[in-house]
Symmetry: C2
């Protein structure tokens, strides 16, 4: 059977999710959709894939590639080229559904090892052919597309193995094309059992290399840190040669080189191997709790107090703002129950109240102490304790909520997520300003949470749902999105906390970092990639 | 009264320490020094300072500088030039004692603010005049000397203030010329009371800027991290312009720029301002404990277990190896006491046993839990618990032990410290190899400790004392020192954990980092400092 665009945009076969009744109920209520409207599918992407732009690489070049990787590891079919044209950004999916693929890669290469990559980069550098390193393609920032064609270098077929676990050092050496679930399963079953500690929402469809390249954060980042806190050393193939940093617990021999590659988004070279910290896997000790606070401001103050009191840190630590809390309650059919009425009666009013989730990992005594300390702080801030269950329930659907985007788009809902990091004293003003902007669009659901927490501030994560303007899906999204970014910037939020920059946020990079900083980044790029072949086309706001 | 070289080499007036009886007793025993020999002072540095090399800056340049900083903030006297010629490296002190100052700065400038520095760098860049940023001059790696003359840019006179404490964000914005004690005192007395968390042995004579520039670590680093873990943003004046990074708790907008300046050792620009994390100052909650282990290997295993079990972390965490433990006992007149005999009887034999110090900071419940968990782990490793007192005693003399170097050199003792970072599985082999090398020199006391601890490894800190070969003090030191570095490198230790590189370790940098990494560092240097004026002369192994 001919492959369709839908085969590309969906998250694997088992992930073609249906909207549950709770979610459908909310959609109907908020957007006024009728049952008939809900049955009408919009932009399904069920067309057969046809790539108009033919492969522009010379036969001699393709022969050279074939000699390196073998015939079976070079693909120029329409499907494979289409399949490597986009990440999972909202407009990527709209374009796929519309069958608009303007700049596919000329070919997809599956290198077998680092040496293949060295040779491929040498050819590409000599012939000025663009190279885009590919992992799980879950980028939501247009980080993996190929505006200059060239090759997609897909590491997931071969460079997907754990090379070494060191149980004395608590380190793992892993190839970057390995997917999250395989990596974690390997560690969970090794020796006395370990965990990688990194669980982004994209976990099931993202690779170790993608985590580094886009500088990701996982759900347990409040305890274990972001990816940059977990990496001890890297091996990177650049057009200028291979950089392989040494592994030390810490050092003071000039500035560290390896952090330059964390967040480089393929613009400097291909990260092929990484040495990371691992932790004892001891889920039997993990403790969960949850609270409801009377309002967002109080919940944030309690959260900040937890992070600044020297009590240790939780690993999972989240607050949903009032609208996200309300939607969660609605979709779980909590609204109108006795418990709901009781909470309202007690002053935890719907539309104001906020859910907080907590999970603490580590030794028995550590998790007990931290949870007990958090409970005391929550109590001081008049929180209502709702026990372990809500946090456990949230964890059960932790990854699958992302897969709702496809059925939502099917019924004509525009939906996306954006995130920022902000110091504590800017958090509430930024939250209010972005909420106000989001709500300036008619019939828009705006859910906000905090999910990555630090001594000095936290992230804010915005999810919006709004009816699409049919026929003008991309332009109206772009305009709305632009306003969100500008509101974040005007309110002292970072351009991104963990999604990265790609080409989506590139236009704001110089203003964000300052001319001198972007010039320094460009100088580093120009040194390592003098011909500008690595993920070119404005990635990170860099030239070319 | 004319100023002498000794006025420069000593650590402030109050720090001209006498050797205590315990230390003298050890010296006599180990080196066979007689009382007469002890009275004979060697290389005292009591000569009057005379600088032969006159200031080579043109009058017009000096006039330009004077117009910027004012007459009172430009010094060309022999004393000031001599006083800015060296740090506190062993050979620096030997040279000062001998009155050998070959390449003093031409002038010392005390800028009043960032704008002065911008103007000074513009003049120096135009005229290719070397600029060496100066903080507390406590470098032990030849990081602040001026092989090409030029100007020493001393930030300690004016750029020494806290600019802002933010009690919501737990951040401080501070100028880099501020000394440790003034900084900590300011924080201890601000609002609800804070601490900077960074206490290197040089604390009393080092500045915030020096901490960053040399990538330092303090005694509480196991809990609070090294300086690179505390810095949120920097302001740096480079010959290419001012880079001022934004302050976020975390972000993902390309790779971070600010870490490039941490460990830059003045080679890229002048760090003038930094935003750092601060912590609640709650010493009333700090818990101390200490242990004696039967041997070094077991102590290290217990320490590693503490770091890898998810119990939280101690802040101060140290092990002294058997010889350091023995010397500590000797100088404290513990040897031969009833307690000593009891310990030997119980199997904690002198020459094998090792001291461990622990202090935990934070909330009451956190410190209680962590100390209790450490005690359990220590017990499993058959440690003898020696309570809070030894750790408290050690803390009392924490800074002053460094000042013993001067009276030791007075009586002809060669002494220095070197340090490295190493993964756990290389720690014992490295410790043994370096000990063996140190002991290959006749009559050498070699004391080793671990003082900065991580999940994945730790540092090793080597102190040696040995009689000088009089007349050939520098050459024989250099040869011995070279062997230590080479032994560390051959055993997979980093060149440095927190002392930095300067010019002392520069010759090993390319081998250590690899050609491609040092080329990348050079490209960054060349971009920011195209005329090579910033701390030139092989700093970090960079050109010029």
């Amino acid at each position: 059977m001919a492959k369709t665009y839908r085969d590309i945009l969906k998250w694997g076969d088992k992930r073609e999710t249906q909207l549950d009744d709770g979610t459908l109920h909310v959609i109907k209520e908020k957007f006024g959709y009728s049952d008939t409207e809900l049955k009408h599918k919009h932009l399904t992407g069920n067309q057969e894939i046809i790539i108009k732009k033919s492969c522009s690489l010379k036969e001699t070049i393709l022969d050279e590639f074939t000699q390196i990787v073998g015939k079976e590891n070079i693909e120029t079919s329409d499907f494979e080229r289409a399949n490597h044209s986009f990440g999972k950004y909202y407009t990527d999916l709209v374009k796929l559904r519309k069958g608009e693929i303007e700049t596919p890669p000329d070919a997809v290469l599956y290198p077998k090892n680092d040496e293949d990559i060295v040779q491929i980069l040498a050819i590409c550098n000599k012939n000025k052919i663009a190279v885009t390193p590919i992992g799980g393609q879950s980028s939501v920032t247009r980080g993996v597309e190929t505006p200059q064609g060239g090759i997609s270098l897909d590491l997931t077929r071969y460079l997907n193995k754990v090379l070494e676990v060191n149980e004395i050092n608590h380190t793992v050496r892993v190839q970057t094309g390995m997917f999250g679930p395989a990596f974690e399963e390997y560690l969970n079953n090794y020796g006395i059992k370990y965990s990688c500690g990194h669980f982004p929402q994209s976990f099931e469809y993202s690779t170790v290399g993608g985590w580094l390249a886009a500088k990701g954060a996982g759900q347990a980042s409040t305890g274990y840190g972001k990816i940059e806190d977990m990496v001890l050393s890297v091996k990177v193939v650049t057009p200028k040669g291979v950089i392989h940093t040494k592994t030390y617990p810490a050092s003071a021999q000039g500035w560290d080189i390896h952090p330059i590659f964390i967040g480089s988004e393929g613009s400097l070279g291909v990260i092929t191997e990484v040495t990371m910290k691992i932790r004892k896997y001891q889920p039997e000790n993990t403790r969960f709790t949850s609270f409801i606070f009377k309002d967002f401001e109080t919940a944030v103050t309690a959260m900040r107090t937890v992070m600044q009191s020297g009590i240790g840190v939780p690993h999972l630590f989240r607050i949903s703002d009032p609208e996200e809390t309300e939607i969660a309650f609605k979709t779980k059919n909590f609204e109108g129950t006795f418990a709901d009425k009781f909470l309202n009666f007690k002053g935890f009013q719907s539309g104001k109240r906020c859910l907080m989730f907590v999970a603490v990992e580590g030794s028995k005594s550590y998790t007990k102490q931290v949870v007990s300390s958090i409970k005391k702080i929550a109590k001081k801030h008049k929180a209502f304790s709702t026990g372990a269950k809500p946090t456990k329930k949230w964890l059960e659907q932790r990854y699958s909520s992302a897969y709702l985007r496809d059925p939502l788009m099917d019924i004509g809902v525009m939906t996306d997520t954006l995130e920022t990091a902000v110091l504590w004293d800017n958090l509430i003003p930024l939250w209010k300003a972005v909420r106000k902007y989001l709500k300036s669009r008619d019939k828009t659901v705006a859910m906000v949470h905090i999910s990555h927490v630090y001594e000095n501030g936290a992230n804010l994560y915005f999810t919006f749902l709004s009816p699409m303007k049919k026929g003008n899906e991309i332009e109206e999204y772009r305009e709305y999105h632009k306003g969100i970014i500008e509101t974040i910037q005007a309110n002292n939020g970072s351009l991104s906390h963990h999604h990265g920059v790609g080409r989506t946020l590139a236009p704001w990079m110089e203003q964000e970092l300052g001319t001198k900083s972007i010039e320094l980044m460009q100088a580093i790029k120009d040194h390592l990639d003098p011909n500008g072949i690595m993920n070119p086309g404005n990635t990170l706001g860099l030239k070319p």
